[in-house]
Subunit: 216 residues, 2 copies
DNA sequence: TAATAAATTTAGACTTGTCTAAAAAATTAT
DNA sequence: ATAATTTTTTAGACAAGTCTAAATTTATTA
């Protein structure tokens, strides 16, 4: 099996790949809170194991076996997050760090049984899709609410910023997964938005709006 | 916090302490499947952290803070074992290795909520007591069935050998936790025993009998 | 109680994953 | 298109945890 460090590198590379096809050394260093030199060392090891495609100075991509491992770790992370929220009643902003540890538990049988125990959830508490045991998932077609115009509606279905601060802010504003929102006004000056959620008006900045995702 | 290796040493020392008050370097090496020289190195580190009392060549004991950590790890191990058996329906001989990984998940809040989720179980699937969050537990007064004489009865409540092989053997013989047994005969020649469990007669060796624990 | 055996520790080395400082390559801006 | 800047890699070092081989201490036994 792979070491904990290797797993964390693969997971980070996967997440970064969603925005840029080639992931740079510095991006990985920033994501993992480490130094570029350390990243270079690890990239060589991962390339030796054929988990990434790596050419000096050119950034990296995951190989299919690297991606498979990354998706399995993400599956575990999201299933444990679901467990923590749905069964142990943690709040959505409390579960990330615990799941960071739990995602490294190795048993495949365990995670399949956990999946069954919770009746095969499709999304984690933040709206992110949970890959199945083969790594497949429907990538959801979400849009930031900034895509909406006045009087248009949507259902809150995900976030782009997973920070505790943002999640707590949303919780406090009642802006949680599944809620139906309607844009009642867009302030021209700063592009902030006034939303209607369950008969209440909520004013959010453009900054926040960009990180709140909906299905239309 | 402590490293994974440190936690495993503390746990092993705790278990070995139950049989011998001073635990030797070689005992620890055997338990952890490592070399005596490695153990000596680690013992120095643990002594520096005041988790064990260590004097060269004299073996070790846990300090109270070392014991507290050991009991917390054991609490986590046994609660996760209970979870795996009761909620995910694993068999009692399948859960040890998974729990070995899960016992190192650090969140105290998580384990307290898990405890509550399962309604505060007192014993793990092998009959071992689960310490509460303060490390307290009733040490059960179990005896091997070799303590019984003919026609005496008891309730199976624990095992001394936790190996997969022994657990599977017991399972196959219906000798599981909670079953009431009666000794119907003791063979003088080899001290093997014939038990009656739910109207069935079962013949077990003295070797096995010594590892099967009951309350009278 | 001296010799032998067993247990334990020390010394020196190796691996993994990290770091800093310096060198090399790639990018950007003049 | 060359200089300046940024990014990446290399070189060398360190901590944690482990190992083998040798030295030392303790225990056993004759």
């Amino acid at each position: 099996m792979n070491t904990l460090a290797e797993e964390n590198y693969l997971k980070s590379i996967y997440h970064l790949s969603l925005n840029d096809s080639n992931v740079s050394t510095n991006q990985i260093a920033a994501a993992l809170n480490t130094k570029a030199a350390s990243v270079t060392d690890m990239l060589k090891k991962l390339a030796d194991k054929e988990l990434i495609n790596y050419e000096k100075y050119q950034g990296v991509t995951l190989t299919s076996s690297g991606e498979k491992i990354a998706l399995h770790i993400i599956r575990k992370h999201r299933l444990w997050e679901y467990f923590l929220v749905e069964k142990l009643h943690f709040k959505w902003d409390e579960v990330h760090d615990m799941a960071e540890e739990m995602e490294h538990i190795s048993s495949v049988e365990l995670i399949d049984r956990l999946d069954k125990f919770m009746d095969y959830p499709k999304h984690d508490p933040h709206g992110d899709p949970i890959p199945d045991r083969d790594g497949n998932f429907k990538k959801h077609e979400l849009q930031p609410i900034t895509a909406l115009r006045v009087n248009e509606t949507g259902i809150i279905s995900g976030v782009r910023d997973h920070s505790t601060a943002f999640l707590q802010y949303l919780e406090k504003q009642q802006l949680t997964i599944g809620k139906k929102i309607k844009v009642t006004e867009i302030i021209e000056y700063d592009h902030s938005m006034i939303l209607e959620v369950e008969q209440t008006k909520i004013h959010i900045s453009r900054e926040a709006a960009k990180n709140l995702l909906i299905v239309i």
